[in-house]
């Protein structure tokens, strides 16, 4: 689903990613670990071009999205992203946070379809389905958003603002916000690092349930237990390259690289 080929990223003159090659298949759960400053976040942010790569390609569903001429917004709709600090929209209620992108995208599509009918080839439109109105789009998105909130047990929080939620609740809302677009893959950058310890579990549980449903996920985390349990591949990054990539059992029990062993001895 995602083919990363010789991905490079420079900030000014410092090269942070020095040629990364990874293939992520549908249903993969890839956990990325590595010391601080090794380029894990940068790698993740390059996958959906939040940082523009300075070299190499990222083939996502057959399109090289590292190419600056593609409309990245269209491809990002198929890639969710979950941030360390949640980044819920502070000026929107919980449910509006979830509805914003779906409503916006569907309204855009509806307007494009309408333009096409008005200006397009003048063939009869009697057989075509009626276009939904903005109100119908909103109502539909609201139902879906409520279903997502029900899934995380926060239906009663639909109309409050994010500032009233706990960290764990915020992160769970952020996760279902990315689910609302039915993404092909979700990228997580240390989703539990900013949480109080007692809230880590609820977020990891939600991620596990996504994993069970077959969601493709790329996760940067320091939760080694979670990596071991859920991942089907663990990548170890150091100094802007992937030093080691293996299934979790093999990765944690018999790491090949000396740097990996050293890192694991510190964190385990």
């Amino acid at each position: 689903m995602i083919d990363v080929i010789d991905l490079k990223k420079k900030f000014g003159s410092t090269e942070v990613l020095k040629g990364i090659n990874v293939t992520i298949e549908k249903g993969d759960i890839v956990v990325v670990i590595g010391p601080s400053g090794s380029g894990k976040s940068t790698f993740l942010r390059c996958l959906n071009c939040m940082e523009d790569p300075t070299g190499g390609s990222i083939i996502f569903n057959g399109v090289d999205i590292a190419d600056m001429s593609v409309d990245i917004n269209i491809h990002r709709r198929h890639m969710g992203m979950v941030f360390q600090h949640f980044n819920l929209f502070n000026n929107k209620t919980v449910i509006e946070n979830i509805m914003l992108a779906p409503v916006h995208v569907r309204c855009q599509e509806m307007k494009a379809a309408r333009r096409k009918r008005i200006f397009g080839s003048g063939k009869s439109s009697s057989g075509e389905a009626r276009l939904p109105t903005r109100a119908q789009i909103r109502a539909g998105a609201r139902e879906e958003a409520l279903a997502l909130l029900r899934r995380i047990g926060l239906e009663d929080k639909a109309d409050v603002y994010p500032s009233t939620l706990s960290g764990g609740q915020k992160q769970r809302v952020a996760i279902v916000r990315s689910l609302a677009m039915n993404p092909d893959v979700i990228l997580f950058d240390e989703p539990t690092s900013a949480l109080d310890p007692e809230m880590v579990g609820e977020v990891l549980d939600l991620m596990k349930s996504l994993a069970k449903e077959g969601m493709t996920m790329v996760i940067v985390t320091h939760e080694m237990g979670f990596a071991r349990e859920v991942a089907n591949r663990v990548l170890f990054m150091d100094g802007g390259t992937i030093l080691e990539s293996a299934p979790p059992e093999e990765f944690f029990t018999s790491p090949k690289h000396a740097r990996t062993r050293e890192f694991l001895s510190k964190v385990l």
Binding site: N48, M50, N73, I74, H75, R76, R77, M79, G80, M81, F83, H85, N87, L88, F89, N90, N91, K92, L100, A101, H104, V105, V160, Y161, S163, T164, A174, R177, S178, M181
Partner: protein, 236 residues
């Protein structure tokens, strides 16, 4: 005090009997029209400029736009409002062959002028919003402009509302120079009453009182708006 009573009576006579109140209402209307329209135009212009100035600048077009915007902001912040009014009314418009009334010119100049100031206010407002907000918008596939409009600018406006209120108050006060280009504002109205009664003390005192009431009213309005916008900050 008897002297003051006399003056007061003269003022009342002209205000009520010689249609002074019509002039005052007209002046008040023009003052408010110029300040309100100037503020609205200023917010629109200022938001666009502030947005241009925060766009990442790897590409050429944003860089050129940014240069144009900073030139504009420098020009309007670097000259007094009166000078801008005079230049537009007596230099630019005649050169372009455009005819506009004093009030129209004033609205235009006030809009352009406050646009320059508000762009700086708005820019600091935008910069006060956590960059993660824009990132989250972009990450769900919204364009830069949609993310700005839906997410960043509403939060920026909330942060700068008190400053915008001050800008509006400053605009109201600055309208007192529009008579330079023949717009009939409060000053013109009270001067009319003053020169008809050969008595300026009471008219200008009343004028000052009207300005103060306007300013207090706006401050109150801003406070109420701030409170209602704070609701997304409150825990409940």
């Amino acid at each position: 005090m008897g002297n003051f009573g006399n003056k007061w009576n003269k003022f009342v006579e002209i205000f009520l009997l010689q249609n002074g109140y019509v002039k005052v209402l007209e002046g008040l209307q023009n003052t408010l029209l110029i300040a309100v329209c100037g503020l609205i135009a200023g917010i629109l212009i200022g938001t666009v400029i502030a947005t241009v100035r925060v766009i990442p600048k790897y590409k050429r077009l944003p860089r050129i736009l940014n240069a144009v915007c900073s030139f504009y902001v420098g020009l309007f912040r670097g000259t007094p409002m009166v000078v801008q009014l005079l230049v537009f009314y007596y230099v630019l418009l005649p050169l372009l062959g455009v005819k506009m009334t004093g009030v129209q010119v004033s609205i235009m100049v006030f809009g352009l002028n406050s646009g320059a100031y508000i762009s700086e206010i708005m820019r600091s407002g935008i910069q006060s919003v956590d960059p993660g907000q824009l990132e989250a918008g972009r990450a769900v596939g919204l364009s830069f402009s949609t993310s700005m409009l839906e997410i960043v600018i509403p939060q920026a406006v909330k942060n700068i509302l008190p400053t915008l209120g001050n800008e509006f108050i400053a605009l109201i006060k600055e309208t007192s120079v529009v008579s330079f280009v023949g717009a009939a504002d409060l000053y013109v109205a009270f001067s009319f009453i003053g020169s008809n009664s050969y008595e300026f003390m009471v008219p200008y005192l009343v004028m000052a009182a009207i300005y103060i009431v306007l300013v207090l009213f706006i401050s109150l309005l801003v406070a109420v708006m701030e409170r209602s916008l704070k609701k997304s900050d409150r825990r409940n």
